[in-house]
C-alpha cells in the first residue's frame, strides 16, 4: 500500500489528466468526485510497482476510463438524475471561451470515440498504445478514430481535420 505522500504526489501529477477524462464522460460533479477518489484509492492500494512514469500514467488513464464506463453502465445512474445536475457545478475551465466548439464537439461524440480522440490527439499515444490501454484491437482503434474524425469534421468543418 502506498502512503499519503505518494498519493499527494500522484494527485498533483496526474489529477488534471484524470479530471479531463472525467470531464469527457461525466456530467455530475459528485460522479467526478467519486471517480477521482476511486481512481486514487486504487492507486494507493495497487501493490505492484510501476516500471516507469509512462506506465504509471497509462495505468491511471486505463483505471479512470474503466471507472467512468462502470459508472455510466450503472442502472441507478441510467435511471436517475443527480441533484448535482440541477445546481451549478464547480467550473473546471481556466479560460471559459477557449475552444468551446472543439470541446462541445468532442463531448457530443459516442463514449468510445471520446477516449480514442483524447488519447490520440491530446495525450499523444500511438494506436498500438491506445489499443493496449483500451484493450481493443488496433484495427478497432483505427476504425473508431476514423469515425470520430468524420463526426468532428461534420461538427467543426473540414478545416479542423486538415493536416
Amino acid at each position: 500500500m502506498r502512503d499519503e505522500l505518494q498519493a499527494r504526489a500522484a494527485i498533483e501529477k496526474y489529477g488534471d489528466t484524470v479530471r479531463r477524462i472525467c470531464f469527457m464522460h461525466l456530467k455530475s460533479y459528485s460522479d467526478v468526485e467519486d471517480i477521482f477518489q476511486e481512481v486514487f484509492l486504487k492507486y494507493v492500494l495497487y501493490k505492484n510497482d510501476f516500471e516507469s512514469d509512462a506506465h504509471e500514467k497509462a495505468w491511471l488513464i486505463r483505471v479512470t476510463i474503466n471507472a467512468c464506463k462502470d459508472i455510466l453502465k450503472s442502472f441507478f445512474r441510467k435511471n436517475t438524475t443527480s441533484i448535482d445536475n440541477l445546481i451549478n457545478q464547480p467550473y473546471c475551465f481556466n479560460d471559459v471561451d477557449a475552444n468551446m466548439d472543439v470541446v462541445n464537439a468532442i463531448l457530443a461524440l459516442p463514449e468510445k470515440y471520446k477516449d480514442v480522440i483524447f488519447l490520440f490527439y491530446y495525450i499523444g499515444y500511438s494506436v498500438p498504445e491506445i489499443s493496449h490501454i483500451l484493450n481493443k484491437k488496433e484495427n478497432t482503434v483505427y476504425t473508431w478514430l476514423n469515425r470520430a474524425r468524420a463526426q468532428l469534421k461534420v461538427a467543426l468543418g473540414g478545416d479542423f481535420i486538415a493536416k
Binding site: 486514487f40 468532442i106 468532428l152
Partner: protein
C-alpha cells in the same frame, strides 16, 4: 501537429482538477489509509491472538501428555489384592494397575485417575475393607518408590497414618523400595513387598522360586520363612491350593494367618 490536435490540446489544457477536488480526495485517501492500517493492525492482532491460543492449547496438550501424565512415584499395595498406583509430580494418580484378580475386583467401579494419591489410597482401603480383604489379622504391605526423596518420605508418613485407621499399626508394613527392586518385581508381575518377601524366603529355602510363590500372600511367605528358620518344611502345592481356594471364596484364610511381621 494537425489543426484539430492543436485545438484539442488547447481546449483540454484549460481543464484542470479543482483544488477542492484534490483536497477532498486527499482527505478521503488519508482517512482510508488510516482506516486500512488500523484494520490491518486489528487483523494482525487477531492472528496473534489465534496463534497465542494455539500455542497455549499445544502447551496444555504437551503438558498433559509429557509432564502431567509422567509417573514420578509408585505406590504398591498388597494385602492380597495386589495393586499399583502411579503418581505424577503433583501427587495425583495417573495410572492404576491390578497384579491379580482380587486387585481387579477392587479397582472395578473405582474412579481413581487424577485424584490425589492419599484420597485414592483411602478409597482403595475402604473398598478392601468393604469387600472383606482387610480384617483384624490382615497384613497390609505398602511400598513407595519415588524419584524424589522428599516426596517419598512425605508419602510414607501420610500413607502410614492413613493405613493405621484401617488396621492395627503392628500389621501395617510401609516402606520405600529402590527403583531396581520396583523394576524387578514388576518384571515378575508381583508387588515389591511380595518380591522382597520371596527373596527373604529364598535365603532360607533356595528351592522357593518366584513362579511357585507368586500366588501366596505376604503373610504366608513370612510364615514359611519363619518356619524354615525354625526347621519346618512347607508344601508349596498345599499353600497355593489354599490361597486359590481362599481367594475364590473372597474370605481368604491367609488374611487371618495370625502371624504378622512389620518391616518398619
Amino acid at each position: 501537429m494537425t489543426l484539430l490536435q492543436n485545438d484539442i490540446k488547447n481546449a483540454f489544457d484549460q481543464i484542470y482538477a479543482e483544488k477542492e477536488l484534490k483536497d477532498n480526495t486527499l482527505s478521503f485517501i488519508s482517512h482510508q489509509i488510516e482506516f486500512r492500517q488500523k484494520f490491518h493492525l486489528r487483523k494482525i492482532k487477531k492472528h496473534v491472538l489465534v496463534c497465542t491460543i494455539l500455542i497455549i492449547c499445544m502447551g496444555i496438550r504437551w503438558f498433559s501428555s509429557n509432564i502431567y501424565s509422567q509417573s514420578m512415584s509408585y505406590i504398591d499395595i498388597d494385602v492380597n489384592p495386589s495393586l499399583e498406583l502411579a503418581v505424577n509430580r503433583y501427587g495425583r494418580i495417573v495410572d492404576v494397575y491390578a497384579y491379580n484378580d482380587d486387585g481387579s475386583k477392587i479397582l472395578q467401579g473405582l474412579k481413581l485417575k487424577n485424584k490425589p494419591y492419599y484420597n485414592a489410597t483411602e478409597t482403595i482401603f475402604n473398598a478392601m475393607k468393604d469387600m472383606g480383604y482387610i480384617k483384624e489379622q490382615s497384613v497390609l504391605s505398602v511400598t513407595v518408590q519415588s524419584y524424589d526423596e522428599t516426596d517419598q518420605k512425605n508419602m510414607l508418613d501420610i500413607l502410614k497414618n492413613m493405613a493405621e485407621n484401617f488396621i492395627d499399626e503392628k500389621q501395617v508394613s510401609i516402606y520405600s523400595v529402590s527403583e531396581e527392586t520396583k523394576h524387578n518385581s514388576h518384571n515378575h508381575h508381583i508387588t515389591p513387598a511380595k518380591y522382597l518377601a520371596i527373596a527373604e524366603l529364598q535365603e532360607v529355602d533356595p528351592t522357593a522360586t518366584i513362579e511357585r510363590c507368586k500366588n501366596l500372600s505376604i503373610d504366608q511367605l513370612e510364615q514359611m520363612t519363619h518356619g524354615h528358620e525354625s526347621g519346618h518344611q512347607h508344601n508349596y502345592q498345599n499353600d497355593e491350593t489354599k490361597t486359590e481356594t481362599s481367594s475364590s471364596s473372597n474370605n481368604s484364610s491367609h488374611h487371618g494367618c495370625g502371624m504378622c511381621d512389620n518391616r518398619e
